[in-house]
Every structure is written in structure tokens, then in C-alpha cells.
Assembly symmetry: C2
Homo-oligomer: 349 residues x 2
DNA sequence: AGCGTTGCAGCAAGCGCTTTCTATGTACTC
DNA sequence: GAGTACATAGAAAGCGCTTGCTGCAACGCT
């Protein structure tokens, strides 16, 4: 049999109510009584029954963090920062919260199911990270779910995700479009006119926005885009490798390759090297995100630095109600262009 | 007001008991009744109250995964594999489980507090990943906590962590010692006799075991170790960079650097390059873990491949009781030496 | 002295579900 | 056709906690 509140109460010679109040510290209790209770708690090694507490109080100390791929540092870094702010153990705020990271694996169903699971647990808050899936049906379902969560008192924050208008969710969005544009403009500025683009999965907002930025830059400089210059793939190295070979096959005269993210860019570098091309002398390469390993690539990667940790921390604070929501409930977070060794002037053909 | 079981029961014209039984599917219910109930659930958009359910049933569907650093792919990959097996949404098994990843940040207190939090939630299982902290006091506290969890019916699995004897926890341990030895023997076999070693944080089992393997290899080949050849640091790139500069300062005649893990090795590579040394012509470098980016380094990294995903998946299955525990509750998982471009014969001085 | 305050502690009513036990109708068996 | 077994549904007793309300001293005020 596990120890209950009543056991502690008996030992401390007080009523269960008093024990509860000592533990929650939300009601005046005489110092001597408190001490007696805490002593009993300690002696009996009492651990509060979470479910019972959540049921009675109609609130829980669970906070959910949804990520697309926990094995990807992009999400790991954000999750880490969010969790640090949520409190979890070690957080400054009194009430300890259990920050839980849920891995959707990019699957719409899992995303929805996790939200239901969190709703079921009456989570105090939920942070959704990463790009959204652009299927209208799924999006409607998600919005409905988010609205329901908010109605039930759960705070919902979108971190690095496009806003969900009319749901009441607070959004900290990355300016993927602006970043993409800046990156491509950098390459154009170096003199590149034939740029390959390795995009992420089709139905992702992140993919679309970065690509739109790229195209905006091309358009702004009067460069007409060749449809052969764009290839779609997954957000991983392997995909970047294969896509690059494909690009090279389609048009060997490309002088630059822009990748959907850093992992893809690394794959691109490998493919170029394996094809006997030098970076950046023969082909320039650019990534996106500026994950820690990007600076270690040889040559180090030109990319757009996204303040993942900062944004995550802010999202965490907002989720905890420790920081005010941005005006309008939407904030756009800009990336910063990091020019490094992988981009240079194009070869003079 | 949220919808409750009773509301559904009223709508379906049955008793709450019946609704509960339909939802849990653990008791015969006539097909026609079931249908009526499910229809009502759907119409009312009913979501089970998790805490209430957990309280009444005295069980929960929460499974905890403790990791040292969620931003590190080493843990991300394991966590991802564990979670995939746990079920979470998408898992085959009926009952959906909420697999939650808790980030301890390597702090003993947080580790302990998370365990308490999970105990409080009456978690169904807990998986602890990564090396343990070698402080006797902390270790005793952890063991006691683990024992308590197990007594309370929580299954505890250690993944990539040394066994905790007498606690009843099941352990899938990585053979860090063997891997470390094999790695260093590879370098010795190439002809290296002056090897620097960048170890991880002092008080970690992982650190100690890998270092022990390294020293065992040296001893086996009659190489006397110079105390200047070992430097301790953190498990990150930065640390590897700095430690390498320090090693070079202490003994410029080193022909190889063995790092505590791949991130550290990457930092080492950067430091060597910045010092004007070629890899592997001037200095060979070796890592540990074989994380995805290691193959992308230039030259690609010689390292020991740890089957993180496989071990995680197995740990997940064991935690769910879907796979039998190894005999004696302990299994040792071996790494595999991956010889790549970063190691070669030493320069002939 | 009388009375309103204030400070602490206890009572008891739930929170929304699960589950044991009981009740009822139906299907067999001989 | 009586007796037994089976399938299904309901009543009700909690699960362990929180919290509104009540109770009761001790205190200060006029």
C-alpha cells in the first residue's frame, strides 16, 4: 500500500486538509503545524498522487511540447530551451511542472493524437514547434483542437510555426521567407545566376516559405527561374545528397546550391565533393538554421542563423504566463545571415 | 463545462459504467450498445479525463524517458527510438500511451526530481538513458528511488547506462570499455605510439569506461601513458577544440587524438586544422558514437558506432513488457569500429 | 464587558472515472 | 417446462486529493 495524504495527516496529528494546504502552500498554516507536517511527509516518504490531485484541483502540472523529429537538433535545441523555461525541476517558480516532449515524427495523425492525449491530461500548456503541415483538412482539425484546448484553459504557443488565426494560440514565427530571400540575395550578390534549390517536403509551411523567399530574391534581380533548378526532398542529409546529384544531372552549369536546411546542405556538399567539384570554387553551397555542426563543415557553411534557443525560451515563458504575449498574439522572429566559407564568387565559366 | 462520462451516458441512454466499458474495451458490451455509445461520444466530442481515469484505475498511461541533453542527437536518436516503440500515438498496441521525454541537463537534482514527478504521476514505465553520474550519494539516492518506483509497479529500464544492481531495473548497457579499447587498438595498429585523449566530464560512467578501454589498449601494447596526454572536458565541440589546443601545447609530438565522442572529435579536427595540421597525415583523430554527421566530416570520422536506435527500440519494448528482459536483467550492447578517413599511419617524424 | 476581527484548523462534499457485485433477460440442457 | 448457465447492463462504492464553508480561539476595540 502506498502512503496517502491521510496517513501523513494521522502521523502529524492534523486533518488531511491541512496537509494538503502545507503541500500547496496556498493557505495560511501555522509554522509549527507546517513543520510537523513536513516532518511526517519526510518520515513516511510521502509522494503526492498526481492524478488525484489533478482531478480534485481540475488542473495539472503537465506541459506538452510537440516536435516533428526529436532526433533532429533543430527541434532538440528548441525543446531544450522551452523545457528549461517551463520550469520542470530546477525552474525557479514554486510549482514543479512536468515538461513532456512528444515526437510526432511529422505525421499528422500523431500530431492530432498527441494533442488529444494532452487534452485528456488537462495539460496546463502546449507548445507546438516547427513547420505546419499544409493539408487543409488536417489544418482545420488542428485548429479546432487547438481552440478546444484553449477553451479548456490550456495555453497554446506556436514556436517556429505559422500563426493559427482565430484559434487564440500565440505564435512566435520564424521569418523563413525573409531569411530565404536574404540568403539567395547574398549568392546573387556574389555573382551567381544559376542557382539550384533543394526544398524540403512539399506540404510543409517551412518548405514553402523558404522557397518563396528564394524565388522572391531571384525575381527581384530579374533572374528567370528554370523549373529544373528545384528539387524536393526530406529534411535530411541523405536527401540532400541525392537531390544534389539530381540537380547536377539536370544542369551541370549550376554555380550554387541552396538547401532547405543545414543537414540537407551537408549532404549537398558530400555529393559535390564526390562529383569532383570544389566548394566554393566550383559550386557554392548554403544552408539554413545554423545548427551547431554547420560551422564544422569544411568549408564551414554559409547559412541563416535561426535563434532557436532564444525563441524556445521565449515560447516557454509565454506558455507559463511569465512573459506577455506579443501584440496581436503574433511575433515574427528574424534569422541572421551567416556568411562563411561555403559560398564564394562563381567560377568564370 | 466540459463533457463528462455521465453526459455521454445520458445521451446514449446507458449507465456511465457501460460507457466506461465501451471506451476501455475490457468487458463485453453488446454491439448495438457500443455503437450508440460511440455515436454519443462522437457527437458530444467527449474526451476522457485522464487524471480521473488514472485515479480510479490506479494506473496511468504515462511513460517517462530521461535524457541528459535533448539537444544532443545521441539522446535524440535514442529517445526517438524508444518513443516509437512505447506506442505513443501510432503504436500498434491498443492503449495509447503518452511517452514523455524529460531533459535532465545532466544535473543530478533534476534527474531525481523528474523521477519523483514521474512517480507522482504513477508512470507505467521509465527509461533512463545515457551515462550515470558517479557520485556515491547521488547514486544511492537514485537507486532508492528506482527501487521505490519498481515497488509501485513502474517498470524501469536503463538504456546505455550501467546496471543498478539490486534495484530490479533492467539494463541495456553499452560496452564503452570494449569500444574504447578497440578504437585505440586500431590506432596503435596503424603505428601510433603517442596518443592524446580528450575525456568527457570526470564524474560520468561513460567517461570513465571509455577512458579505461583506451588505457587497457595502451597497456596491452606496452605503451606507457604520459599523464599530459589526457585532458577532461565536456561532451561538446567547443570543449574538444580547447582540449586539443591544450594537448598540442603540452606535447606537440602527438600523432593521434582520441575524443570522448564525435562532437568532441569534430572540435578537435577544427583545432588541428586551425593549427595548420593535416588530418590524418599529421594527426589522426577518432571519435565515439558515430552520430549521423560524423560521416560528413572532412575527412570522415573514424569512430565506434553505437546502435543507438536499435538499443532504444529494444529498451522501449522491454519497458512495455513486449519483449523479455535479457537474462539476469542485464545485456551488454557492443559498438562497432568504423574506420574512416580521419585515421591513418602516423607521420614519420 | 461586549462584539467584531482575525488566524488556523477541520468537516465534508465532491472531482470524473473504474470496477465489484448484483439484477435481469435470454438461451440452453435434460 | 424447470433449472442452470451465460451475456449484458446498472447501482454504488470508492480512488486520493482540494476547497468552500464552518468552528473556535485569541485578540483588539469601544
Amino acid at each position: 500500500m502506498t502512503v496517502t495524504l491521510a496517513d501523513v495527516a494521522a502521523r502529524a496529528q492534523v486533518s488531511p486538509a491541512t496537509v494538503s494546504r502545507v503541500l500547496n502552500g496556498n493557505y495560511p498554516v501555522a509554522a509549527s503545524t507546517r513543520e510537523r507536517v513536513l516532518k511526517a511527509v519526510d518520515e513516511l516518504d510521502y509522494v503526492l498522487n498526481g492524478p488525484a490531485s489533478a482531478l480534485a484541483a481540475a488542473t495539472s502540472d503537465l506541459v506538452g511540447i510537440l516536435v516533428n523529429d526529436i532526433a533532429d537538433p533543430f527541434f532538440g535545441i528548441m525543446a531544450s530551451a522551452i523545457q528549461a523555461e517551463i520550469g520542470g525541476p530546477g525552474g525557479r517558480a514554486g510549482g514543479e511542472r512536468l515538461a513532456v516532449v512528444c515526437n510526432t515524427g511529422g505525421s499528422p495523425e500523431r500530431e492530432l493524437t498527441y494533442l488529444t492525449l494532452l487534452q485528456r491530461q488537462r495539460a496546463a500548456a502546449v507548445v507546438l514547434t516547427g513547420g505546419a503541415i499544409e493539408d487543409p483538412v488536417h489544418q482545420a482539425a488542428m485548429d479546432a483542437k487547438v481552440r478546444k484546448l484553449i477553451d479548456a484553459g490550456t495555453r497554446v504557443v506556436l514556436c517556429g510555426r505559422p500563426p493559427a488565426p482565430d484559434t487564440g494560440a500565440i505564435a512566435l514565427t520564424f521569418d523563413n521567407r525573409g531569411g530565404g530571400q536574404e540568403l539567395t540575395e547574398h549568392l546573387i550578390g556574389l555573382g551567381h545566376r544559376r542557382l539550384g534549390y533543394i526544398a524540403g517536403p512539399q506540404e510543409r509551411t517551412t518548405t514553402r516559405h523558404r522557397l518563396e523567399g528564394h524565388r522572391a530574391a531571384l525575381a527581384a534581380h530579374g533572374i528567370e527561374e528554370d523549373p529544373r533548378w528545384t528539387v524536393h526532398g526530406r529534411y535530411d542529409r541523405r536527401s540532400g545528397y541525392e537531390a544534389t546529384l539530381e540537380l547536377l544531372r539536370r544542369d551541370p552549369s549550376l554555380t550554387a546550391v541552396v538547401a532547405a536546411n543545414d543537414s540537407v546542405a551537408l549532404g549537398a556538399c558530400a555529393a559535390l565533393r564526390d562529383s569532383g567539384l570544389r566548394i566554393p570554387e566550383d559550386v557554392s553551397v548554403a544552408g539554413f538554421d545554423d545548427l551547431p555542426f554547420s560551422i564544422d563543415a569544411v568549408p564551414s557553411l554559409t547559412t541563416v542563423r535561426l535563434p532557436l534557443a532564444e525563441a524556445g525560451a521565449r515560447a516557454g515563458r509565454v506558455a507559463m504566463g511569465r512573459e506577455e504575449a506579443p501584440p496581436g498574439g503574433i511575433a515574427s522572429v528574424r534569422g541572421e545571415l551567416m556568411v562563411r566559407g561555403s559560398s564564394g564568387v562563381p567560377r568564370t565559366s
